[in-house]
Symmetry: C2
């Protein structure tokens, strides 16, 4: 097929996009933004990176899903991972601070588990590196599920269906395989599948120039040009690094509580911006409900500048384009 | 088609069933049980009876589903109907007694909402007649969701998506339609769809003689012949009536708390036996975990007889055939 034929086929697809350029023999359409900004971002893959020591298998994912929805590994018997990481609420809870065992309220906002397999630091303070390390924390935390791992394991061992599922995932006798490590590996495997690809932004990055409106594109440009993308980088729009920020109402010392280094005071992990429109409220203390206000605070605190109203509106419109396709999870039938 | 042709077609379907009888011109196969017992039971319809004042519409069902999974109509913001009526756990909680706001433990076992539209009395003590009457109780109960209806309604009114959903379900301006009655009507509509047809028992009643094993059929016969079916009657295997029973560890006065009549002391509504194998633990206080033990207690308490081991095993095998197809519910995306 010659390029004129390609052109005549491609033209109807270009829609509002005006400019056409011929680059290395390929037709590339541009809208005045794509050529300048697309390379500064990364589309989100469907599956998060898989660690060498925890191969991703169907059996582990299925087991991890059961465990994720299992409230009987909490002291009350009614709190599961899915209580705070609620699939109906963007896999978070949409309240300021996590509320767990006996109604106790924690100090920090529940992060969504969506796309968390793309992070190289877990929790607001990065006290764990990966999902395997993160998985057991909330089960044992006194103000979350408040269950000792011994008790959780004893509870799981009562059910043949769990014995079978652990055997299917890890081989051997099921009962022996019900270990803290294997619980963590299964939960991590399941969470590694909870990603939200194909957002309007991803479709745009991949070349669908009509996937974003002009306003959203202006927001993307403002986001990149003002330096937001310095920390909100990579496929999940986080560098998994720690930056000092003090948001209204927070006295939390953040990363300092892990390292004890003065320089880590008030540092928190850059949160992902993927699905940020459906994972309010914002910041480590969940103190801000509106994306407009959160954007203004970030501009002041992190960039030392004041965004005008139009820029705020544009950036917020862009942030809405980061909402991807939610995982299509059927509720498991637990034993 | 003549009956010989019908016969030659039907024969391969009859499987293990031996006897054939010609009744009113139709071929009827029998297995020694069906002709005797099938008429004493009713298969479960796919949809529960719809009251004249609450027509069942797609819009109400969708809205009811949102509300059912909505934790922000609880005081803590993390307890929804689905917390205790957990779809992963047979739409109940599988713990002895309901655990709600701030970890408070109630006096009674959470009944499954599955097939609850077939009941003509709701709650263990029948203090409401129908799902519309039942729906708001747990939202307001101090030890369950602990939310005033005014506060719940104010919360819902914050979301455009709810305004739209109420308008779609009830017409008019969405905000005005967010009323206690309309919340109850939507929740009732959704619950009316949560039924479990096509259990092995239903398939058997409808003529699939291979849907039950010989052991299960013996259990069905024992269940009917010993009088269990006197109260566990109708499509949901409950008469929605009240019968005196005192189970181990319970001091609950039951129906008496509603009526104040001496004769109602220790009376509780006959629970449905649909899905009984997956809705343990049993009785008003959730005091019994095993179906074998529950069956023995029922034989002693209600029938004044002792079942031998084989009868217990047969009846329990039969009770397992009452587990139907679980509703295929996708988790809603809440605003």
């Amino acid at each position: 097929m010659n390029w004129k034929a390609s052109l005549s086929r491609a033209l109807p697809l270009l829609g509002a996009a005006g400019l056409l350029a011929l680059s290395a023999g390929t037709l590339v359409a541009d809208d005045g933004y794509h050529s300048k900004y697309a390379d500064r971002f990364e589309p989100l893959p469907a599956i998060a990176p898989i660690p060498a020591n925890n191969s991703l298998t169907k059996e582990k994912i299925e087991l991890g899903k059961m465990l994720f929805f299992e409230p009987r590994i909490s002291a009350s018997g009614v709190i599961s991972c899915a209580t705070c990481h609620n699939p109906a609420l963007g896999w978070t809870d949409r309240i300021p601070r996590a509320t767990g065992h006996n109604g106790q309220v924690g100090d920090r906002n529940t992060p969504t588990v969506l796309n968390s397999g793309f992070f190289t630091a877990q929790f607001w303070d990065g006290r764990e590196d990966d999902l395997e390390g993160q998985a057991l924390g909330p089960i044992e935390a006194d103000i979350e599920m408040a269950m000792s791992l011994d008790d959780a394991i004893a509870r799981l061992k009562e059910f043949d269906q769990y014995k079978e599922a652990f055997a299917a995932a890890y081989g051997g006798e099921g009962e022996e395989q019900i270990t803290p490590e294997n619980i963590a590996f299964a939960l991590a495997s399941f969470q590694r599948t909870l990603n939200t690809p194909n957002s309007p932004f991803d479709r745009y990055l991949r070349g669908d120039l009509n996937a974003l409106t002009e306003k959203e594109k202006r927001g993307m440009a403002a986001f990149a040009d003002n330096g937001c993308a310095a920390c909100h980088s990579g496929p999940a729009l986080t560098d998994s690094s720690f930056h000092a920020i003090q948001v209204p109402g927070s006295t939390d010392l953040g990363r300092y509580e892990v390292t004890g280094d003065e320089g880590d005071k008030y540092r928190f992990k850059t949160p992902t911006l993927r699905n940020v429109a459906v994972t309010y409220p914002y910041f480590n203390n969940g103190g801000v409900e509106s994306l407009e206000e959160a954007t203004q605070i970030m501009a002041r605190e992190m960039l030392g500048r004041e965004f005008d109203d139009q820029t705020i509106k544009d950036v917020v419109a862009f942030l809405h384009t980061l909402t991807g396709e939610m995982p299509n999870i059927t509720i498991p039938a637990l034993p």
